[in-house]
């Protein structure tokens, strides 16, 4: 039997204006297990500069767009995406 891990460590990627707000484009987060996308966002919003992140930013988990209640797993890559402006 494997004990359920008490924490989940994920990689967070930040882009464009959000990277500038938080002063970083990549960081690791250690969250209590179980953790959802919204928990990661809440943690980011508590960082210096993070209070200007929206409560429900566009997020992608391992390259696919996800909802705030999506569960996070160890090693996941969560990208927090500012409003898109390609073209």
């Amino acid at each position: 039997m494997t004990a359920v891990a008490s924490t989940v460590t994920i990689r967070v990627l930040l882009f464009a204006s959000y990277a500038e707000l938080l002063g970083s484009d990549a960081l690791d987060l250690v969250l209590d297990n179980p953790a959802r996308v919204r928990d990661a966002v809440e943690r980011l919003r508590a960082f210096p500069g993070g209070d200007r992140l929206p409560a429900k930013p566009l997020c992608a988990l391992n390259l696919t767009q996800v909802e705030p209640d999506t569960l996070l797993r160890v090693g996941d890559e969560l990208a927090v995406l500012p409003p898109l402006s390609g073209g």
């Binding site: 464009a16 992608a60 402006s85 390609g86």
Partner: protein, 151 residues
């Protein structure tokens, strides 16, 4: 590869899409404009979440090709672009013009809506703003208008 840091050559995209089966070939170029909301733009800086942007571009091209029986070539620039530079180029080739125009229109609209690419406007007056980010993208003293688009 749909994203490129090098200048986009329309001729190369035409060569990718054209074939003897295709009598209608439509193209769209999105170029860097010298003004935005009445202010003079100096240059644009594009950044992207590359692996997701590549995957999303591939999905969009695949959707257009299956919807209209066409071949689509697509390139989007990253990095620093000057006024007049091509930021995005699309060529859609089909048997007839209606399908080619429709596919070309679909691809540019979906690229703008779905692909994780961001542009930062550098204005002649020295202010710098992330397009579409509202207050979160504000730097300097300029006015910020959310949700607008350059091309």
């Amino acid at each position: 590869m749909y994203l490129t840091a090098d200048p986009i050559e329309l001729g190369a995209l035409l060569a990718m899409a054209q074939s003897p089966r295709h009598g209608g070939v439509a193209s769209f170029l999105g170029c860097v404009r010298d003004h935005q909301a009445g202010r003079a733009v100096l240059r644009l800086e594009y950044s992207a979440y590359n692996p997701m942007a590549e995957a999303e571009c591939g999905r969009i091209v695949g959707e257009a090709e299956s919807k209209w029986d066409c071949i689509v070539a697509l390139k989007h620039r990253t990095g620093t672009l000057q006024i007049g530079d091509v930021a995005v180029a699309i060529v859609a080739a089909s048997a007839h013009r209606d399908e080619a125009f429709a596919a070309c229109r679909y691809v540019i609209e979906e690229v703008k809506r779905r692909v994780p690419i961001w542009k930062r406007e550098v204005f002649v007056d020295g202010t710098v703003e992330w397009v579409g980010s509202g207050e979160a993208g504000k730097q300097g003293s300029g006015e910020v208008v959310g949700g607008r688009s350059q091309s």
